[in-house]
């Protein structure tokens, strides 16, 4: 069986399991909207915020909401004994990482759609001047975040304090990503709009780093 087929099966398995109960999607979307509501209240229910603030709040909530859903795959794999099967797959072990990354990313993107919608409604945001750039930033940010998150989820798999430790390791490591998506989002919403190319480079570089490092290290990690 070639690696692509293994990859396809693993992604399909994760998505199929999720769509049986849809707990993650429902909980994650609800939590995202609730977080946005709470931050709106914390900002004294201001009718309009400067774009630098609202973009920061959007990404803060995206990061928090993403962090809570990252351990879901591993929990299910352990519960049903699939984690042992994953060690025996007839392909390079890094395929497991890439499959988890893609399925996590797809599910987070779906869940975040509710949060983004709530962002426009609750914060009275106008349509971004560069809508395509905003959508690409959302996708790029979530791709990078779910990538480093999936890797750290495997790193912390054997930790007794996993739920607390994962965000603690995730947020410092994702600072470059956070800054990049923040700056590009501000550029997309500003009037006149602008594209901060240097931050686009940082975002692209971060996604490349997230794609390459686990390829080198994931196999070693699966030994334990």
């Amino acid at each position: 069986m070639n690696a692509w087929r293994v990859f396809g099966y693993l992604v399909w398995k994760d998505i199929k399991i999720e769509f049986r109960g849809k707990q993650f999607l429902a909980a994650s979307a609800t939590f995202g909207v609730l977080m946005l509501f709470i931050t709106g209240v914390a900002m004294d229910a201001a009718p309009s915020l400067p774009v630098t603030w609202s973009a920061g709040l959007l990404w803060l909530n995206v990061f928090f909401t993403t962090a809570i859903g990252l351990t879901r795959h591993d929990r299910k794999d352990k519960e049903y004994g699939a984690s042992l099967g994953l060690r025996l797959i007839p392909a390079d072990p890094s395929v497991v990482y890439y499959a988890k990354w893609v399925s996590t990313c797809a599910l987070i993107l779906l869940a975040q759609a509710a949060l983004v919608l709530a962002f426009f409604v609750m914060f009275n945001q106008h349509t971004p001047s560069l809508l395509g750039m905003f959508v690409m930033t959302l996708v790029g940010g979530i791709v990078g975040l779910s990538g480093i998150g999936s890797f750290l989820s495997a790193v912390t798999a054997e930790s007794a304090m996993r739920d607390l430790l994962l965000p603690l390791l995730l947020f410092p490591l994702s600072v470059p990503l956070f800054l990049a998506v923040l700056k590009i989002t501000v550029g997309a919403f500003s009037a006149p709009a602008f594209i901060p190319w240097v931050w686009v480079d940082v975002l692209a570089g971060y996604v490349v780093m997230v794609a390459v490092l686990p390829w080198l290290l994931y196999e070693v990690l699966m030994e334990v």
Binding site: L165, L173, V175, P176, L179, V198, M209, L217, V220, V224
Partner: protein, 232 residues
């Protein structure tokens, strides 16, 4: 402690006293900052030593992943712990320096921000390590995390530098941006901090090796007791 270590401690105490003399009395005050510049000798030296400590932790983590010899992991964790102490000194002295100079305890300067992120990254390392059971599993997981964390540091620094920067550059392409006496004091302080790091690394690694040996003996003793009970 054997006599060589005791001798090294005494020598370092003498060097430390000399460093205090150079930094607090001998070196001249700076034209604008006056005596406040003396914090620099501790702040910069601890920052450089912390970076060196994390570099050592990174290299030994890579060596552990390649060769799977527990000594590399012991050196790695020892270096991280000492690096954290030096990073804490850097942050505290940085804040003490920033208040009178920049009129704020904290500013979002790239180096300050990167140093704080570095501190969080390696605090995470020690927490991760403390919550994973199994000797080899703990060593491998923490080594992999150390590699990823250290590899991310230049990216973090670059991004934070792009974000905002007000920190002065002490060393540029044209050399030290300070008088010779200040540069000498700074380098002397760095050597003293470095020697203290080496001594601490040796002592911490030795204590970790002893702890491991004790653990192995306890395991062997339990196995022996089980065998005896099984034989009866």
């Amino acid at each position: 402690m054997n006599w060589q270590v005791k001798l090294l401690v005494v020598l370092l105490a003498a060097f430390g006293a000399l460093d205090l003399y150079l930094a607090l009395l001998w070196s001249p005050p700076e034209a604008q900052m006056g005596d406040l510049v003396r914090i620099m000798y501790f702040h910069v030296a601890s920052a450089w030593t912390a970076m060196l400590a994390f570099s050592v932790a990174f290299v030994t983590a890579v060596l552990y992943v390649i060769f799977r010899q527990i000594k590399w992991d012991v050196i790695s964790v020892s270096s991280v712990e000492i690096g954290l102490v030096y990073t804490s000194i850097t942050l505290v002295t940085g804040m003490l320096w920033a208040k009178p100079i920049w009129n704020t305890w904290w500013t979002w300067d790239p180096r300050l921000t990167t140093t704080l992120i570095l501190w969080f990254l390696f605090i995470g390392y020690t927490l991760l390590r403390g919550t994973v059971s199994g000797l080899e599993r703990r060593a491998l997981v923490s080594s992999i995390y150390a590699i990823v964390a250290f590899a991310d540091v230049p990216v973090i620094h670059l991004s934070v530098k792009l974000w905002r920067s007000i920190h002065p550059d002490l060393i540029t392409d044209s050399g030290f941006q300070m008088p010779g006496s200040m540069a000498f004091t700074l380098m002397f302080g760095f050597v003293v901090f470095l020697l203290v790091y080496v001594l601490l690394l040796y002592m911490r690694a030795k204590s970790e090796f002893l702890r491991l040996r004790l653990f192995q003996l306890r395991q062997a003793s339990r196995a022996l007791s089980r065998d005896e009970r099984g034989g009866m």
